[in-house]
């Protein structure tokens, strides 16, 4: 978020209250940019209007990729490149390959998932975010409303709506 944007911030101090407030503010035709909280609140993202994340799909695809890579590596080395008779077993000894293929699947899923998560949320080392309120990571729940995206509602009405919905403070940033 660039610092040139104008935000009106409603500060709440209770998780259930902010969840309530989201629908209350939205019902007045005000578009909410986002809500910032110190811990996850179930249902808050849907209330704000974010779409359901597709991370599980990404995780599944990374898992498939990991399994494919592991099985390809094992069969290339054990069957095609340098087949060796080990204990009279088949070269293509699939049951013996389960452990390593499983570990490969888990490894790719975990790293793929976390990297996707970081990219989709713009998280990287050295990122200096524009923090709206330092108390967000402590004990306050902050509803951010972008003034430029709410042309139809006046700033005073937004402030009033936030106050009415239970905000303990209304700040402008």
């Amino acid at each position: 978020m660039s610092s040139t944007t104008n935000y009106i911030l409603g500060v709440y101090d209770d998780e259930d209250e902010v969840l309530h407030a989201v629908s209350e503010v939205k019902s007045k035709g005000i578009k909410i940019e986002d809500v910032f909280t110190p811990f996850p609140i179930h249902g808050l993202d849907r209330a704000v209007g974010h779409e359901r994340t597709r991370l599980p799909i990404a995780a599944f695809l990374f898992g498939v990729l990991g399994l494919t890579c592991a099985l390809s590596l094992i069969s290339y080395t054990m069957v095609f490149d340098w087949p060796m008779i080990i204990g009279g077993k088949d070269f293509f000894a699939l049951p013996n390959w389960i452990p390593v293929s499983f570990e490969g699947t888990v490894l790719f899923t975990a790293f793929g998932l976390v990297i996707t998560f970081c990219i989709s949320n713009n998280l990287y080392p050295g990122n200096q975010p524009d923090i709206l309120d330092l108390r967000i990571t402590d004990d306050k729940f902050v509803m951010a409303i972008n003034v430029d995206k709410n042309k139809k509602v006046s700033a005073d009405d937004i402030k009033k709506a936030l106050k009415d919905s239970g905000a303990i403070e209304v700040n402008v940033k």
Partner: protein, 465 residues
């Protein structure tokens, strides 16, 4: 409502804490000067680490001939220590992943330190794997890398190669899970930072966390998936460790019961180690309101359950040795209990099978001193379990002329001491520089379960409506 909690549940966080109290209590030791106790503890563990590092260096330099191994007993303390540390590590993943899937909210105040313990324990285990190779600088030969021999690849049919993949995946995935859990809390410290150094370092590692609802929603999914894949991962790791033995042809090792028996043993010893560390941490950092008697009791219950599973496994092994009618197998087990290593066997039986049964009494399992003592007893017992499995199965070879005993040298002992030095040095560093309790998760389970949590808000809300 975000949480529906039965009124008969014990409070997870006591002392009427508010959200900012949690932040304050947990960040306090990160932000303050190190205490005198911490300095002493850290100093001693560093000295132990240095002494151990010398012994390990000497082992690497001279080769494993400095250990007490002989041609009959080719695996002894090295693999005993390896299996012991890996087993201890399992509790962290169990607590953070399995208890997350089962929605056990009491995990929130202990999962951070348990996961840290996992990572440090796996590092200790890895030090023995490297050392027991004899030529640790060739450790990469265990990986399927193209090489100048052909390329001659590793044997993917071998449990030892499975182990390489299992342990390295386990270490990296645990590290990832732990670090992602830390990010929101690092952001808390970043936002409270008063010094430049703290602002920079915690800012760097908190990756620009803002706490937006969208990020949190994705974060929850990510944690759930990581927990979902870590659960079979942790089970696979000790299963594969047990297969190092179970796929061999040594009487006393090649039993099909090994995978579940090893996994239960791993949870058992890991929970005991978490218990030991938590009982110290809660007193040193004054976290009695977060790590309550309830937590200690829960841990003790898990210890009793897994201890009983382990006890049944010991008896089953004995029964099957007799029932199979295989004389080598029968001999291996009778020799364990009555042979020259009888003391190790009975040490294991007493510590692992009998002592956890004391926790059936509520007075005992809620007593801190007894819990602390028994948690150490359990880990002594679990060390002897691995020693008994490894050494007593090997020391009576097929030919009586090859029969031998094992006696450790100062380097066997020194390398074991190294792992303690490494473990505690890392743990004390973690306890000082990172939040030992997952603040975000604890805050998320406080409402409705924390005593005296301001209820007035909800009441006024209702009257307004």
């Amino acid at each position: 409502m975000s949480h529906v909690v039965s009124p008969i549940r014990e409070k997870l966080v006591t002392g009427g804490k508010s959200y900012s109290d949690v932040t304050h209590d947990i960040c306090k030791q990160v932000e303050g000067e190190p205490t005198k106790e911490w300095k002493w503890a850290f100093g001693i563990s560093t000295l132990v680490f240095i002494y151990g590092a010398y012994c390990l260096f000497y082992t690497w330099w001279q080769g494993i001939g400095v250990w007490g191994l002989n041609k009959t007993v080719g695996w002894a303390w090295d693999i005993t220590n390896f299996v012991w540390w890996v087993g201890i590590g399992h509790a962290g993943t169990l607590i953070s992943a399995v208890l997350l899937l089962f929605r056990q909210k009491w995990r929130t105040s202990i999962n951070r330190s348990a996961e840290a313990m996992t990572i440090f324990a796996v590092l200790c285990a890895a030090s023995f794997i490297l050392a027991h190779m004899g030529r640790p600088w060739l450790a990469h030969w265990a990986l399927p890398l193209p090489n100048a021999f052909g390329s001659l690849w590793v044997n993917f049919n071998s449990p030892l190669v499975w182990d390489v993949f299992a342990i390295s995946t386990y270490l990296s995935v645990s590290l990832l899970f732990w670090y992602m859990g830390l990010v929101p809390d690092l952001a808390t410290i970043r936002d409270r930072a008063t010094t430049k150094g703290r602002k920079f370092w915690y800012g760097l590692f908190s990756l620009g966390w803002t706490g937006s609802s969208k990020t949190w929603a994705r974060y929850e999914y990510m944690s759930l998936i990581l927990a979902g894949i870590s659960t079979p991962l942790v089970l696979s790791v000790h299963t594969i460790v047990s297969m190092d033995f179970a796929t061999s042809v040594i009487p006393g090792w090649h039993t099909t019961i090994f995978p579940p028996y090893f996994v239960a043993g791993a949870i058992f010893s890991g929970f005991a180690m978490v218990q030991t560390l938590l009982l110290i941490t809660r007193v040193v950092f004054k976290l009695e309101d977060y790590i309550t008697i309830e937590h200690i009791e829960m841990m003790n219950i898990v210890i009793t359950v897994t201890g009983s599973v382990v006890g049944i496994a010991y008896l089953t092994e004995f029964f099957i040795a007799w029932y199979s009618g295989v004389e080598y197998e029968s001999y291996a087990f009778i020799n364990r209990a009555t042979g020259p290593y009888w003391w190790a066997y009975w040490m294991m039986m007493t510590c692992n099978v009998i002592s956890p049964q004391l926790f059936w009494s509520k007075a005992i399992r809620t007593n801190l001193m007894v819990s602390f003592f028994l948690s150490i007893v359990v880990n002594v017992g679990m060390w002897f379990e691995r020693f008994v499995i490894i050494v007593t199965s090997l020391h009576r070879d097929y030919l009586p002329s090859s029969w031998a005993m094992f006696s450790p040298t100062m380097y066997d002992i020194g390398d074991y001491i190294f792992s303690f030095g490494l473990f505690f040095t890392l743990f004390f560093l973690f306890a000082k520089y990172l939040p030992v309790v997952n603040m975000a998760e604890v805050k998320s389970v406080m409402k409705g379960v924390s005593s005296n949590f301001p209820e007035k808000k909800k009441a006024t809300k209702k009257t307004e409506e």
